[in-house]
């Protein structure tokens, strides 16, 4: 029994184990070398990622509180991969930082939170996972303690998320009142689409929407991304968002299946709003992080479009896209992170003439941005194509037309960055930067992922074989 228990919980346990290991080091060792710790942690994360591939059985623990199956394991592994890449990229930044251990403690705590959230079979478990990830994230946002922007970002984040989780909780409480249960399976059976339930659902939805930055619940996003350390922004944009999307689609497709007609309409509206607003704001940003923030909002809109497909294709496409999105967005954030750590420059104008001095970084950036824009042969193209293809499954061509139009708008601001890098020049361009081994490895993973994921169909096939339809 214990073996099965440990086995089912192994991903959570490994990460928790790493947390405790780091905690012991923190408490036990009076002096340690930052570089050693970084290498150690990255090694552990790599091990964690690899161990995640061990096959598993579907199982349910804690009387329905905790579910696990192949799809969930895969999702967690995707998150593991993302965390690993982020950690590799953070090398340059953390090398000079005094609280490396604390950073990882908080970071991994959020990861565990996401794991539990993904595996949750009960609203209570879900809530606990959510908060376990949110609260440390707020602390992480303010990790550049002496920077005013970082503190401001953290304040905005914690205030907004407290408010959002309060609304979420209010929704949960109403849902509890309406159905008398917190168990996902039972809730599904007791939904009848009454106004009361719908109201509860909308409150619940707003909680999700907040985490995945859906308009009009997105306003914190840009400020927090801008103020937080780049690594944290990257983490927020891919891991946090990805994890919530995993849960969101799971919840919609299983728990709220009876309300499908309702949430379909809501999601279409929100998707359009999100794409349009995200793109329109991104158009005129001058700071790269902020631009990426709005771009990530727009991307959320596209993912929502995929979710509206309400089919197995939709589920598979969303998961696939998030995988691709991790590679692409982390490629871009990685470059920003490296340059920011070494020169402190984060504006688009600062990137002018980057290609002359740092061709490698420029190409990584370019490929990542093209992938974000959805241009082949990058994986982003496949991701977007499948999302919209799933979205059109319901026959709503107008909606997909708007989405396609938004792809064109989004291309503009990605190309603006590329234009600055490749075509423009400035008197004092960013000098030649040295790229340490670990970030280099991260870039390699990202670029390889961007190029290979799309061309190799089996990735999608595998996800599809696990995914669920409505």
């Amino acid at each position: 029994m214990w073996a099965g228990f440990i086995f089912s919980l192994r991903q959570e346990l490994i990460v928790t184990g790493i947390i405790f290991l780091l905690l012991f080091i923190k408490v036990g060792a009076t002096e340690y070398k930052t570089a050693v710790i970084l290498n150690l942690v990255n090694g552990l994360l790599l091990a964690n990622f690899i161990l995640g591939f061990i096959g598993c059985q579907d199982s349910i623990l804690f009387s329905g509180m905790f579910h696990t199956n192949k799809l969930l394991v895969l999702e967690k592994n995707i998150l593991n991969l993302g965390t690993l890449i982020i950690s590799l990229q953070a090398y340059d930044w953390l090398k000079g930082h005094r609280q490396v251990l604390e950073f990882y403690l908080l970071l991994l705590a959020t990861l565990v939170g996401f794991f539990f959230m993904i595996s949750a079979g009960n609203l209570l478990m879900f809530y606990l996972g959510l908060e376990l990830s949110t609260i440390p994230l707020a602390a992480l946002s303010s990790f550049d303690l002496e920077k005013r922007q970082s503190s401001e970002a953290a304040m905005k984040f914690i205030m907004s998320s407290a408010f959002s989780s309060a609304l979420l909780l209010f929704g949960i409480s109403l849902l509890y009142g309406a159905t008398g249960t917190l168990d996902f399976d039972t809730i599904g059976q007791r939904l009848d689409g009454s106004a009361f339930q719908l109201f509860a659902f909308i409150l619940l939805l707003s909680g999700f929407a907040f985490k995945i930055s859906v308009v009009p619940f997105h306003l914190w996003t840009a400020d927090v991304y801008e103020g937080s350390p780049v690594t944290v922004s990257a983490y927020l944009s891919v891991i946090s968002k990805g994890a919530v999307f995993f849960v969101f689609i799971q919840v919609l497709y299983t728990v709220f299946k009876p309300l499908a007609a309702n949430w379909y309409r809501i999601l279409v509206l929100l998707s359009i709003l999100t794409m349009v607003t995200g793109n329109l704001f991104a158009l005129r940003q001058d700071k790269l992080k902020r631009l990426l923030a709005f771009s990530s909002i727009a991307q959320s809109g596209f993912i929502l479009a995929g979710i509206t497909g309400s089919s197995r294709t939709g589920d598979a496409s969303v998961i696939y896209f998030i995988l691709v999105y991790i590679f692409s967005n982390l490629g871009a954030f990685g470059v920003v992170s490296l340059i920011s750590a070494q020169t402190g420059k984060e504006g688009i104008d600062d990137y002018k003439g980057l290609y002359a001095t740092n061709p490698l970084l420029s190409w990584v950036m370019a490929i990542s941005l093209f992938s974000l824009a959805g241009i082949p042969p990058t994986a982003g193209f496949f991701g977007k194509f499948f999302l919209l293809m799933a979205g059109v499954g319901k026959g709503n061509y107008v909606f997909i037309g708007i989405a396609a139009l938004n792809m064109v708008i989004s291309l503009y601001y990605y190309l603006r960055v590329i234009k600055a890098i490749f075509m423009e020049s400035q008197p004092e361009p960013i000098g030649k930067l040295t790229i340490p081994f670990l970030p280099n490895l991260a870039f390699l993973i990202c670029v390889a992922g961007i190029i290979m994921t799309g061309l190799m169909g089996w990735v999608y096939d595998y996800i599809y074989s696990l995914s669920i339809g409505l």
């Binding site: 609304l167 719908l198 939805l205 907040f210 009009p216 306003l219 400020d223 329109l280």
Partner: protein, 643 residues
Amino acid sequence: MPNDAYIALIPLLPLAAFVVLGLFGRKSLLRLSGIIGTGAVLISTGLSLWTAYRYFAACLSDGACRLITPLKVTWLTFSPGLSIDLSVILDPISVMMIVVVSFVSLMVHVFSLGYMKGETRFGTYYAFLGLFTFSMLGLVLSGNIFEIYIFWELVGCSSFLLIGYYFDRPSAVAAAKKAFIVTRFADLGFLVGILILSFHAETLDFHTLIQRLTGPSPQLASITRASFLGISLLSWGLVLVFIGGAGKSALFPLHIWLPDAMEGPTPVSALIHAATMVVAGVYLVARLYPVYMFADPAVLRVVLYVGAFSALFAAIVACVQTDIKRVLAYSTMSQIGYMMFALGTFQAAGEENTLGYTASMFHLFTHAFFKALLFLCAGVIIHRVHSNEMKDMGGLRKLLPLTHGCFLIACLAIAGIPPFSGFFSKEEILLAAFHANKFVFAVGLFTSGLTAFYMFRLYFSVFWRRQSQDVGSHHGEAPLTMKIPLVILAAGAIFAGFVPFSRWVTYDGAPGKGQGIGGFAIAPVMLALLGMLLAGFFYQKESARPAKAAAALGGLYKFAYHKFYIDEVYSFITKKIIFNFIGRPAAWIDRNIVDGFMNLLAGVTARISARIKGFQSGRVQDYALYFFAGVAALAVLFIYIYT
């Protein structure tokens, strides 16, 4: 006649010369290029004469000339039945034409050996001449209406290249462009005409086309049934084809390019713009003559009047020009007008009158000799005087005795003085016109007198007028290569009239009756003599008479001198109207409206983006408020409105 495939060599040899000289004529073969080009054309001429001999001998033995298609290669198939075949056909007019074209071309090739000697682009010159000769021979041998169009365009192109031979002279460039564009405009008519005829006849082959459109056939029914603006499509097609011909043959009002085309080297003018290319329009109408005959008579009436007017118009203008080549150019235009209206004289008071066809072809034949001769003489003169202006000449008869003689022969021929060749052909034309339309006959007669006048005006101005001078006799009249063609052509100009033309060249291939001219000739010859005398009166000696006469004519003289301002009208239409009212607005609209709209879309997007930035105010309380507003809005929308 079996084994006729060799006929393909007639056009292909000059083509080979073009290719060889075009590739290597600039450097390695520069010196040899004249020999190569001339040699190729010499063989072609030999083959043409041989072909003509065999063909007409066969005619005599068969009693009638038949149409022979020795060669046919499918070039491009559009749809079943509708294909461009590169074919060679032999019938009286095509055989006659290959002789004329290759012969005149040979003369010009030989003449140019001396005339163009020392040019840096000597090889290129011969290459272009080869290209032209190829195209022109191909044109006359074409058995497919699209094939003729192909060569039609190619002669236009070689004409462009040769007019623009002195490419560093802006005037030559302008003339070349003008020639190409004006004929191109006319070709548009030809092309649409082809489309119409071929669509309904369902063939592009001349022979089949003529058969289908002249006899009872479903194709004929379809083309006469369909009509546009009340005129049958057949008529439209034929008129459009005629427009094509009129452009190439420089008929009014598409003649404006021809005088300017004199910017090219003089031998080129002799070949292209006098003897061969410009008569292609006449040849084209002649080629389709059975269809023209069969169609609405109004079509041939158009041909008749356009031809007659052009003849008269050009003759009047020629009387007052001062540039020797321009006079000749207008005279060419006038003579082509003659040929054309001869073709138009078909309907003669109810009965068929096919005399005009033969006469037209006959005049084409004789004209080639004397007009080429005139131009080559002019070439010698210009070579010597280094000017085109008549005022720089005068009294050259001693200096250029041979040229003088030849020029005189040619002038007599064109004026229609017996027994020179022009006399015979012109009388036939006038005779045909007399039978057909008295008014046109009168015009023709008057023009014939004018012709004599302006030709002798030219003759006297150049060779007499002043004291015979003997300037710079250190070199002779001209090199032998220039003299020989003159003599040969002069012989042609004298004797070509005695060819029993009407026996062979008739529209249906059967030998013609060969009407006697007899007493009918008196009036035209008298008029011609009158014209000559008048010219002698004015120009034989230096005097104030021409100026007085000009003053007496006043406005008319000025009008004619400015070519009736046709050029100005055209330039007004193109520069002022097309450029300013179509081209410029089109370009402007494209940049400002169409593209402006695209930019506007982008601008609007950017504007909206700027407008909504206040949404992201940076105050966390606002964010929470929007958050809540979002929830409320969703709740209202989806709970109370949509359910």
